[in-house]
Subunit: 547 residues, 2 copies
Amino acid sequence: MLAVTPEEMKFLTEQEVKEGVRLACFFKADHDLEVAFIEPSEGMVILSHFKPVPFHLNPLIRFENVEVSKPILSDVRGDMEGIWKALGGKYQIGLDVLTRLPIVLRKGNWAIDVSIWDNKEIIRIESESHPLEGYGLAIDLGTTTVVIYLYDLTDGKQVGYLSFVNPQITMGEDVMTRISYSLENPEGLYTLHETLKLGLNSSIHKLCKNCQIDPLKVDELTIVGNTIMHHLLLGIPVAYVGKAPFPPVLQHEFDLHASDLGLDVNPMANVHMLPLIGGFVGSDHVGAILAADIFESTENHLLIDIGTNGEITLGNRDTFLCCSVAAGPAFEGGHLKHGMRAVEGAIDSFEMDDSSTRIKITTVGNVPPIGICGSGYLDILSEMLRLNYLSPNGRINPKIKAPRIRKGLSGLEFVVVWSGEKETHQDIVITSDDIQELQMAKGAISCGIKILMEKRKVDEVGEILLAGAFGNYLRPEAAKAVGLIPKGAEVVPIGNAAGYGAILALLSREKRLKAQEIAKKIKYIELASEPLFQDKFMEAIPFPNQE
Amino acid sequence: MLAVTPEEMKFLTEQEVKEGVRLACFFKADHDLEVAFIEPSEGMVILSHFKPVPFHLNPLIRFENVEVSKPILSDVRGDMEGIWKALGGKYQIGLDVLTRLPIVLRKGNWAIDVSIWDNKEIIRIESESHPLEGYGLAIDLGTTTVVIYLYDLTDGKQVGYLSFVNPQITMGEDVMTRISYSLENPEGLYTLHETLKLGLNSSIHKLCKNCQIDPLKVDELTIVGNTIMHHLLLGIPVAYVGKAPFPPVLQHEFDLHASDLGLDVNPMANVHMLPLIGGFVGSDHVGAILAADIFESTENHLLIDIGTNGEITLGNRDTFLCCSVAAGPAFEGGHLKHGMRAVEGAIDSFEMDDSSTRIKITTVGNVPPIGICGSGYLDILSEMLRLNYLSPNGRINPKIKAPRIRKGLSGLEFVVVWSGEKETHQDIVITSDDIQELQMAKGAISCGIKILMEKRKVDEVGEILLAGAFGNYLRPEAAKAVGLIPKGAEVVPIGNAAGYGAILALLSREKRLKAQEIAKKIKYIELASEPLFQDKFMEAIPFPNQE
């Protein structure tokens, strides 16, 4: 094999070289090779926990032992009719069940186990085995990361979970670039659809293997995702969802058989796609509202799910309003000089003394810092505001003499970590441009919150629920200090609320119906069509005056 | 190309040789060839007509023009939701419709045509075109022959039809040998299923092409067939249907999407498999009863459908009884010295003068006779009985001196046509063994009729309805003379009643429901489990005494 080149060495650690890691862009395949991909999610923090809410275990899948009386010459009936008779009613059946039926029935000596979906359809039959077995998957289909939870549907217990980077990421980092990919490439839509499906299948296989579960015993899947992920999984063209007025192709909940989607579980398993609210507010947000358990509340709650697009919901059981804000990628580290996602080496919290000489940081994975992620930026901004390094308009105060403030290539910048400090090999900075980007992002979110509060005629909210990774790791005081969220309210991080919403819909019929009610009743506010939106957005950009 | 060998010449006509017909078993392929198969149905009489009954045109498919209001920024809704709103209700949809929806809707400038099945599911959408178009196929899936009727569902008119030999015939001539094939061959079931499906697809394609219809505009198919054909089309194992107590896997009607079966029409088209009565009485007989229009009658009717298996139904609207009789292949010419199917050259009617010197025959296709088919045999037997050549016990009367009676290799035989007579090149005979076979077949049928009449406590029936090809071509007087059917009753041939039943179920919701009622209410009598069945069968074998 060709030796590692000096160019490759720039990108690889010694450990990686030792383990045989090579870069495909540098490596010339000169003989037959076995290639294994490094899991791109390794070292990445994917939020998979959540804040549980009470619910009654009542999945749509029911398992039954059925004893069928053998047909005799004077009383012949069909195999299926025998099962219906034993069950006390007629159920739908698919070809997969029908073609296996005569063999399974006789193998089980006329006693079989059946999985029934929604009191309507027999979706699986097995020669009798004790105890009854059946599983469900709840899937949170993120633009960047996908989380799959595996549950035992007989007792509602989590069996395991697995997260992975959405393999579509090579076709675009965000939904807009994926829409473009679908339009600009021959079979772009098909490629996006197939890539996601293959990724799901391989991860489902892996998760089931890890948990020693037969994937063919997975009887139901509930799936949440933003509108584009929802459409791409189903193979629905997304061309028009990306253009004003951004209409989705389908908003309602949608049920189909796993075989129709090509998912490698029980082919007759039901795939339940939770309903969407609109082109920019997907079923992931419906899931988050469900998980936040605020839909019946008499008090006003504010639910914020910040990602590349932020979704905000405000209201109480009388009325709920929601909107989508184009926060941009700043809080995920995008477009920022040393910005990065919350992966290993990202500074995720920051404090400094009043002279900014000594700093206290934490990083993801507790390794030397290599960049800054969203929650880190919020801390840095709030500390800079506290020490008056930063004026409300977002400019680094030129009158302040502080060791970490220096002139950079494009104006003043603040050195978060010096090279050599905290074992890093380079200066890690936040530039004036970075601050502007972050201001725009926080402005978009706080403007959205303000408009909802105005529309809903609410002066203050008792509780702010933060969903998602950024919301989970940020320091509420920092978020309030920079004006991202209103002061005064109690902040409750609720973890991967979207994913938990999918879990609730998997385990509880009532919760699933509630999700449909949420999607139906919630009022979507299109910010762009609000009068004076632009003015309100401009007003929301400055940082608050510090006390 | 190698010349035609003398061996091949024995089997080919001059015309065939001229046309390039060769026999695969003799021909050695020594270079690349294009091969075309001769349609095996050519020259075969396949019954495709029927006796129409009144019904109200009311197919389960409904066509609608839909104008959808364009979404605007202040009122965004999903594409699907727009259609539901315009239709005034929510309908099921499949992935095929959903993935085409955004494109079709905009191509049609927000006006589209939809096909709705059963007031439940949108199964096709098209950019608006006038007039609305949509078709249906009614299929009679016979063991030997398949007939496909194409109907315009907007006006209920027949567009065309096509019949072909069931391509499974190379895997067994009757249902029992096909069951064996499915058991004895690796992937036997799959082969039978695929062969039938491919045959259907190629014929559907051909029929649609002949009629200049786009197969993707076929929105529904109704299918009748015996239990084995029904199961094999669906790919259901038939192993147990062939063993006592002969339980089918499913008796009820069954609806599925064409794509689930792999039929090349609108993938979301509904395939409606009519219900079965039992292992030996399939949906073809349900269709025949529906077509006979006897289910509401106050009078008792006898419906007989004679093929390899005969199905017999007797009753009036109070109670209907049915049974299946193992008539064997004699009436289709099987196991008889000069027996043949009703294909070109088969003697299908026969008369002779009292001295048996002069005969009057007709043949299928009006060509010189080469053998005898079912209706021909009935005529011959009745003429032999009339002239006392044959005694009731089925023996050729040795005391009769008649020119056509002679000693054959195994007892006496009757020469139907002499070599040279009627331009034939060989003596065509009916042997003593033939007569025994025919007696057994007619005994099976008349015994079935008698048992049903006894059970139903009916002494005579007003009308006998004869379904199928044999029933269509036989001479009622001959059938009565040999004792196949009771004397006195009026005989009405009703043509391809099974196929017509499928047509009725295609065009009328009421008729489809009626078919379900028929399958549910009719009482199946298993002859083999009747007390004294063997005795009754023996009694039914002799011919009646002639007046």
